[in-house]
């Protein structure tokens, strides 16, 4: 018996191990194409009837506006993109506090949302609103990633990991199979996003808990 191959008849039997049927090429492609179509730009935006998620976007916009307006010597009508303004050392710095508040609020809502989704997955409940809520949070997350809030490398990594998790939830079809839901659960656990969110969001500072 050498180590270079599995001798016959075991080798022949091995080649029949869980012999696959013909590839269900079209059926799989239809499912892939449907999800890819939903991901492409131009897909209708999520309905804005989830007030607490929409509120995060509004809060972020308000935070950004506050940051620009409060920058000393910067006329409101000539406010530049915050990231660009902040990168220029010759210009007044935007108010970091506004971004920090908006970021903490967003992370707090995201932590509450992921906790809720994870609980639904574990109990086997179908959370029909989750993809739409995730899209709202994803929009806010992307705004934050493009803002001075993401200048801190640790915060940027957290927002990037959070984006992946939210994107997976946002793309969950209404008729998701058990394995798709299992994979989404894996996605939430991956990268320890929830514990990291809880570390960043100071306990007891949230003003959003009552919304859920």
């Amino acid at each position: 018996m050498d180590d270079d191959h599995l001798e016959e008849p075991l080798g022949a039997a091995a080649r029949d191990y869980h012999a696959p049927p013909p590839t269900p090429r079209e059926a799989m492609w239809q499912a892939i194409e449907a999800r890819r179509r939903a991901e492409r730009p131009g897909t209708p935006a999520a309905p804005r009837w989830i007030p607490w998620a929409a509120a995060a976007t509004v809060l972020l916009a308000a935070g950004a506006a506050l940051g620009r307006l409060s920058a000393p010597g910067t006329p409101a009508g000539h406010a530049r993109a915050p990231a660009a303004a902040d990168a220029d050392p010759g210009r007044p710095r935007v108010n970091q506090t506004a971004y920090r508040i908006a970021t903490i609020e967003h992370l707090d809502r995201s932590e509450a949302f992921l906790t809720m989704v994870r609980a639904s997955l574990r109990s086997g409940d179908r959370e029909r609103l989750a993809p739409a809520a995730a899209r709202q949070l994803l929009a806010t997350n992307r705004l934050l990633l493009d803002s001075p809030a993401a200048r801190d490398s640790r915060m940027r990594l957290l927002l990037q990991d959070l984006e992946l998790v939210l994107a997976e939830i946002a793309q969950l079809p209404a008729d998701a199979t058990a394995s798709q839901r299992e994979l989404m659960g894996e996605g939430i656990e991956r990268g320890a996003v929830l514990p990291r969110l809880r570390t960043v969001v100071p306990a007891g500072t949230s003003s959003t808990r009552g919304d859920l």
């Binding site: 091995a14 696959p20 199979t177 394995s179 798709q180 659960g185």
Partner: protein, 177 residues
């Protein structure tokens, strides 16, 4: 059209290129995933998920390995994660009284070589089984396996050797025949 050109078209947003890329690689991915799951629906789900993740991450593909190997790496990751979740869910559902039976292969019950080998392979540790299926069943090279699993080729060879040794022990009566 080669993979590089296909990737460029997919990244440019050409849905037809996505289909062409899928057609070029789906058989190999599906075969591997099916061998690992032995379940048509799960194999379909995991294959679909692997391609969707592959399309999403295509911009990150650096060409360090062949596109087929890169896709297989994603498929193996999706499949192993899915199977682990399934195993955990089943373990939660099965009562403690039944727990001692988990993982015990009743090799004496079935005289058929193929069935006995399948049971023995199913009973291998996850790493051994994955390498065995990829190499001895699907014909991947150790370099491809290493790239797919994120290990060294030597690790793949060592795991395959151990997997074969376990199978020889489990199927010793057939090997002697």
């Amino acid at each position: 059209m080669d993979d590089r050109e296909l990737i460029g078209r997919v990244l440019a947003g050409d849905p037809g290129a996505e289909r062409a890329l899928y057609d070029a690689h789906v058989d190999r991915v599906f075969r591997l995933v099916y061998r690992m799951t032995d379940d048509l629906h799960r194999a379909q789900d995991y294959t679909q998920e692997a391609f969707i993740r592959g399309f999403r991450r295509l911009a990150d593909f650096r060409g360090d390995s062949a596109l087929s190997t890169w896709l297989c790496a994603i498929a193996v990751s999706v499949t192993l994660n899915g199977l682990r979740s399934l195993r955990r869910a089943r373990e939660r559902e099965i009562g403690l009284d039944e727990a001692p039976g988990l993982g015990v292969q009743r090799l004496d019950a079935d005289p058929d070589l193929k069935s006995r080998l399948a049971s023995a392979v199913d009973g291998l540790p996850e790493g051994y089984r994955t390498v065995f299926v990829m190499h001895d069943v699907e014909g991947y090279t150790h370099e491809e396996i290493a790239a797919s699993l994120g290990v060294q080729p030597g690790t793949s060879k060592a795991q395959l050797s151990r997997a074969r040794a376990r199978l020889r022990v489990a199927l010793a009566d057939f090997a002697r025949d």
